[in-house]
Amino acid sequence: MKPAAFDYVRPDRLEDAADLLAEDGVGTKIVSGAQSLGPMLNLRLVRPGRLLDVTAIPALRTVEDAGDAVVIGACITHADIEDGRVPDAWGGMLRQLASGIAYRAVRNRGTVGGSLCHADPAADWLSILTALGAEARLYSRRGRRTVALESFVLGAFETALAADEILEAVRIPKLSGRARWGYSKSCRKAGEFAHAIGVVVDDPETGRCRAVIGATETPPILVADARGLLSGDGTVQADWVLRLLGEAGMQDPFEQQIHLVALERAGAQARL
């Protein structure tokens, strides 16, 4: 399990990274924490001609308070959030959930941006940040653009990122003090990728109540207005959920069941 040979570049400016991508975006694979890409390289499931390591770019490690949101650089690690190096604007939600991602060794290196770009439906951030209404800020020599996460992820392991684009930062709306949230993931063992994810975020201050079902074969299933989905005691409209799952192509009763339960648990947590 050793990777095939590849070239390796590690620029320290975002512009240089964009130049390299413009020059050969298709043959280049961006790497940050390498917690998913590393094993895939070793298994020779991917054989890029060149690895573009973006971890030396200071601009990708910044955290910026943008008023009603926080903008975090793509190379912020899960541990940065877990340990509080990213100021908490979500009532402890991100900090707590970051601490449940995989194992500490993975969290030390794995990055939020890398997780989103890898777009594994079973990953935590994909579902969590979709539920929070986060946006991806993409950069290329052609300029910047901002894409809502639900549009950024096109499918399992598939994103809207063009060959010459790099994920620069993620803009995550803050939660008010009155916001309530719930998160449940079904794993057979600690640290494993989830088999089902449910997220509920309800912020009366902003009027936003969003629910996400994750760890499907598709992008996270978002219910942008989940007020009708969730009743006051935290139970969810099972028929509605099953319809959504069916529309997403999920036919297996066991899979449907564990996804429904994950959402119910998230809903119950949010209503506690």
Partner: protein
């Protein structure tokens, strides 16, 4: 002479100079200092000048003929296929059991491939990456054939045939019949169940690894390999490479866990050994996790149909069973493709006493990697099948599962007991073991908790299992199995050094068992030498007497017995020299605590050793000229094996909607005879239970219908981690074996035997309101949910199909 079953009938030479370091001491493990500091030396740490790394091009198809192998011209001389391996014979592991059909496992595939991952070409490079680059460029054309992906399909007459000269796909069919006739059997209860255990992969922290080179001075092939049994592996190298024994040295460096995976001679080892000699280059292969999972470390896949007959109280009247083992494509050396199924037939009755038994088994060849004997070997599956039957009977007759077991267990007054398959249970009190477990788990409290229900809606379940474990069995048992490994008499060398330190040289191999500590404790027990001054030298054909090695929980019993015997033979020699130095009559001295003592004084082993080696002119004329070094042999008074035993209890909470299972409590009561180091035994049990939890809940190497393995990384093949293993409460009993030195019993495997049965019984107890049982391992969330969902579907009942009239 059988020893009395009294605890601790110690040698008179028990030490007092180093109190509490002999047999029974909870001594910290000597080897842990280097392991915990990362200073061990494994195959992966070894380097030789000019060493090249090896990767294998492996078959991507499960079954097919090789039409053509194309090797790019620039790789000539660095890539080798079967036609290059001149003089290398296929691996043959032949059981002497009647009707056994041997297979021929080529070091590299010749005309046919029989499992995904079978080595086709050995590729060498300056680095492993370069070798893998070469492997990726080998092109092979196959004429694919239908695969046998399941043992039950493989037994059908129309199944594809793995080995052309066989009439079917069965290595070995065996039948064991014991006790009274079934004719006229009238039982109030007759129940039949079908069970399956998954194919698993043994997962030592270190995979296999081998480094071989040809020593031109010695004219010797030197193989440093991660093995549990260097002498047996040397036999294999000699047989299959056509070398003399003196031309081969096999040495194990530190080995990071074995569990049976390192108890076989693999085709990769044979290739590397051949290449080292033929090419005159040191070659090293380090198994990676994908190779370990998909191609090598497969084990455990059983299928059972069992019918139990009992009276209305649950007393067993008869048991009949048929079992299949998915033995994979080849009979692995040395344990063969037949041992596991043969073992099933002989041990299915477990620790129970009942009057009628018959069991037919098949070892079935399939297009999967060869099955290897994993910790516990067939016992884990057998315990699962038998203990689920006992619980099914308990439900049928409406009694507590432990009560049914007490009805049927062999009683202490029957010991030693020859059971229905002629296993000789040496000692123990099985009902007492179970009673202690029942008391520890507090069954009435559990039943009350179940009655009240859980606030979160989960269902509580309690499950028990009880088993016994034959260990350190010798020729009288293995002779009947007829495999190329026949443990007879074990030897060890004890050598007192000029400074009074001691070397124990033994042919076993310690790969996690702590034998560098426990054998030093044995030496301390006999000679009183501080274990810190004892070096245990093991795992190397060059430095030790012959030994079949470390497997079947034999090393403490056998190497411990040999070490004690050798030490004891040194005592009169020490006494003679000591008496001379004390100017005392030899009959008036005693050896005690590392000193020879007379009425007027004492002399230490150090002084005696100094005299023997450096001042021989001061030795008495009648000194034993053998000096302070003895190689002595050992065999237990009976070599039918020690029988340690244990009872396990699992308390679980099951979420019926998702099938999630939480282990709330786990209790083990274990009787391993006299424990040389109870702390190390605890460690063995913890580790075994962790693996048993893996068998019970997580580990499953699935294959699709084409024989493709469906797990190739540890993301797909789930192993329990620390979070998944609860605190295990261990209670010890200590009934000495009447037949062994110190009364010790083999204890290495028991922890891994009990958990699947206890946990599955607990889950079924939790699910009893649904009237369903989970009967396949691992007990996954999906299996739980689907069992509940299928409760009203009226699935057909399993039936025995074998036709025992053929008996």
């Amino acid at each position: 002479m059988f020893r009395a079953a009294a605890p601790m009938t110690r040698s008179a030479a028990q030490g007092d100079a180093t109190p509490g370091q002999g047999v029974g001491a909870r001594l910290l493990r000597k080897e842990d200092d280097r392991f915990l500091r990362g200073r061990g030396r494994f195959v992966g740490d070894l380097k030789l000048p000019g060493m090249r790394e090896v990767a294998f091009a492996r078959s991507p198809v499960a079954h097919g003929r090789i039409l053509e192998i194309r090797i790019p011209p620039d790789l000539r001389g660095t890539v080798f296929t079967a036609k290059d391996l001149v003089g290398v014979k296929p691996i043959r592991a032949v059981s002497g059991l009647p009707g056994f059909r041997p297979s021929e496992q080529p070091a590299l595939a010749t005309d046919k491939v029989r499992y995904v991952g079978e080595p086709i070409a050995m590729c060498t490079g300056r680095s492993r990456a370069e070798a893998e680059d070469a492997a990726a460029r080998i092109e092979v054309d196959f004429a694919e054939e239908p695969a046998v992906s399941d043992m039950l399909l493989g037994r059908r007459p129309d199944a594809p045939r793995l080995h052309a000269d066989w009439p079917d796909n069965v290595y070995l069919e065996s039948l064991v019949v014991g006790g009274e006739s079934f004719t006229g059997l009238d039982a109030a209860v007759k129940i039949t169940r079908e069970f399956r255990t998954s194919r698993q992969c043994m997962s030592p922290m270190e995979g296999k690894g081998v480094l071989a080179h040809w020593d031109t001075r010695r004219e010797q092939l030197i193989v440093e390999t991660s093995t549990q049994m260097p002498h047996i592996i040397r036999n294999g190298f000699c047989d299959f490479l056509g070398l003399e024994q003196r031309q081969v040295r096999v040495a194990a460096p530190d080995v990071g866990g074995g569990f049976g995976h390192k108890g076989v001679l693999s085709p990769e080892e044979l290739c590397v050994a051949w290449g080292a000699r033929a090419l005159g280059q040191p070659l090293r292969w380090i198994e990676d996790r994908r190779e370990q999972l998909t191609a090598n470390a497969n084990c455990r896949e059983h299928h059972y149909i069992v019918t139990a007959y009992a009276d209305a109280r649950g007393k067993l009247l008869a048991l009949e069973a048929e079992a299949s083992v998915d033995a994979g494509a080849y009979s692995a050396f040395p344990f063969t493709g037949g041992i596991e199924a043969a073992q099933i037939a002989s041990i299915l009755p477990g620790p129970y006493d009942f009057p009628r038994y018959r069991c037919r088994t098949w070892s079935v060849a399939s297009n999967k990697p060869p099955i290897l004997p994993y910790r516990g070997v067939a016992r884990t599956g057998v315990c699962f099948a038998m203990e689920l039957m006992l619980d099914a009977i308990a439900r049928e007759v409406g009694r507590e599962p432990y009560e049914i077991r007490l009805e049927n267990l062999v009683r202490p007054e029957q010991m030693p007991f020859d059971n229905i398959t002629n296993k000789h249970f040496d000692s123990g009190d099985y009902p007492e073991c179970l009673r202690r477990l029942v008391a520890a788990i507090d069954i009435p409290a559990v039943r009350e908790r179940q009655r009240l229900g859980e606030p979160d809606g989960r269902l509580i379940g309690l499950g028990l299992s009880i088993y016994n474990e034959q260990a350190a069995h010798g020729m009288s048992v293995y002779g009947a199995w007829g495999i190329p490994i026949l443990p007879g008499y074990e030897q060890a060398t004890a050598r007192i050094l000029p400074d009074g330190g001691l070397e124990i040289r033994a042919g076993i191999q310690s790969h996690g068992q702590g034998l560098e500590t426990t054998l030093a404790q044995v030496a301390n027990e006999i000679l009183g030498i501080d274990p810190a001054r004892v070096s245990v030298i093991h795992g190397d054909t060059e430095t030790s007497p012959y030994s079949p090695g470390t497997y079947a929980s034999r090393s403490m019993v056998m190497a411990g017995g040999a070490g004690a015997t050798a030490g004891r033979q040194l005592v009169p020699r020490l006494a003679t020299i000591g008496a001379s130095l004390l100017q005392a009559d030899p009959s008036q001295v005693r050896f005690e605590g590392g000193h020879v003592r007379s009425a007027s004084g004492s002399v230490s082993i150090e002084a005696i050793a100094r005299t023997w080696y450096l001042q021989p002119h001061e030795l008495p004329a009648d000194v034993d000229r053998g000096g302070l070094e003895v190689t002595a042999g050992y065999r237990a008074e009976r070599d039918s094996g020690t029988f340690s035993y244990g009872a396990h209890a699992a308390l679980v909470a099951v979420e019926p909607r998702t099938g999630e299972i939480e282990l709330l409590r786990y209790v083990v009561v274990e009787d391993g005879g006299v424990l040389v180091n109870p702390m190390i035994v605890d460690g063995q049990i913890y580790g075994g239970v962790a693996q048993g939890i893996g068998t019970a809940l997580y580990e499953e190497m699935r294959f699709d219908a084409a024989g493709q393995p469906l797990a190739s990384t540890l993301a797909d093949y789930l192993l329990p981690g620390s979070v998944e293993v609860p605190d295990v409460q261990i209670l010890h009993m200590e009934t000495p074996s009447p037949y062994t030195e110190f009364g010790v019993k083999g204890i290495g495997e028991g922890g891994a035997i009990g958990p699947p049965a206890a946990i599955a019984n607990a889950v079924n107890d939790a699910l009893r309101s649904f009237g369903v049982e989970v009967t396949s391992l691992p007990v996954t969330p999906r299996r739980v949910v689907e069992a509940i969902a299928a409760r009203s579907s009226g699935a057909p009942q399993p039936t025995l199909s074998t036709g025992f009239e053929r008996a």
